[in-house]
Symmetry: D2
Subunit: 151 residues, 4 copies
């Protein structure tokens, strides 16, 4: 696959993603259920508002948002590369911008870089009815040596 | 409290920290049990190796390490400032440095800045028997307006 | 000014920005000349390709891109808040995504958060003829206590 | 060189570093003069207080500190790996902790990770007479494919 085509075609459907996770990462299977849209170059996930993600003040906790970021970028990579090997997060930066309301958080993950050795994803998190993001993050994944035939 | 004295005296014991969390943040109470040492300027936490924190390959997951960072810095602030109000994470940056072995992770949180409006904590994560860190992070907390009498 | 109006009206023109910089920050005046567009919510700057910004391999250096980020967000804040006091950078995160070609870099700075005490700007850097970013950054500025009448 | 020996032996002296920079990166040669100590696992640089690094308020500018970080980690890598190829910064995160006084800034760069494909350096910046850091940063460099024989 040449560089220009990176991120332009899906290698896995949501169902295939779920099957991969069930085999290799059972504890994270519920997160596959949060995938709202999977399109070339983009994954949208909806984190449902529920007690387990709360922190004092009734707001969604920082760790829940960071798990959402890490998972959304992992799904973005798997969906486009296929189950070619074990990508690992090498760094993650998140800015918490405003206190989330007690409501779902919708995260959209896209590629900033879809390279042979490093993939950088960007995740913007909003809530229904407000265009201002509640959080914004970038996450870098290091790809295994067998992960692609790219540039 | 003058600036020079910041971070030099504890306002809460581990028991008082546990009581505060039980009242205000019940879901996070188990994390108080991970506190191994609480000293002026420093919190040490031990994340026990267990199935719930695993990801594919038997290693401790990134989200578990990020929760550890966020919690350690939150405890560092509470322990030194006391329960004065609601500190909120404004940003977090983590570098994942090497794949953790299937063993406990020990996190040491210290102050980089202990300011009136912003607190920046640094967290270094290692495993027993290896001095090389598995991860390193900094987290910034915004303090509420009533959080201190500092500079 | 209410929160909803933040970032929606300019307080300074490019000329007024230049006058402020000439008085308070003479060494950075040349950067005002790089402003290509200043609109509500957005600053666009064009860093001209020139020898002084080069590193080995003929590519634009990382420090030049970081200066571009810091300056673009500073101008974004000044242009919207006016010369109300001294904003200071509290943190900056940058992902270098691909080696820039020997050509200008165009940076677009927008608000992620335009708060009373913290402003977070996002900067995307591209080159003419290629939609893929060469770098992406977020920068947080702490505002002085007298910086606004906001929430 | 095996992994355990990484960062434990210098490949270049300050003089050899200067010669390499003069050939490959002339514009950055003055920074070699700021190297105060070069030891296995550690580079110490002193940024002299001077007008060119100032910003409003007489303090050292953020871009000067970011250039210091990027340069210190680059020198750390070159000094330990030798001139094996072109390392490039893939990301940089900096926390500005307190306003520097009008005085030199001393930066100490060490390895957080000294891997085959990624090197992560940590840089702590202080000023004479005050143990509290003025800034703290981590920078990740991607190594070229021919950069080492490590793990």
């Amino acid at each position: 696959m040449c560089s220009a085509q990176r991120g332009e075609r899906l290698a896995l459907s949501v169902e295939e993603l779920g099957a991969f996770m069930a085999t290799h990462f059972p504890v994270a299977v519920p997160w596959v259920g949060y995938v709202e849209a999977l399109e070339p170059g983009r994954v949208v996930m909806r984190l449902p508002f529920s007690d387990e993600h709360l922190r004092p003040g009734g707001t969604i906790s920082g760790p829940s948002l960071m798990t959402l970021v890490d998972t959304a970028v992992y799904f973005l990579i798997l969906a486009h590369r296929g189950p070619v090997g074990l990508a690992v997060t090498s760094s993650l930066h998140i800015d918490f911008l405003r206190k989330p309301r007690p409501a779902d958080v919708v995260a959209t993950a896209t590629f900033l870089k879809d390279g042979r050795r490093l993939v950088v994803g960007r995740v913007e998190m909003v809530q229904d009815g407000d265009p201002r993001p509640v959080a914004h993050a970038t996450a870098t994944y290091a790809m295994p040596d067998d992960a692609g035939e790219g540039p």
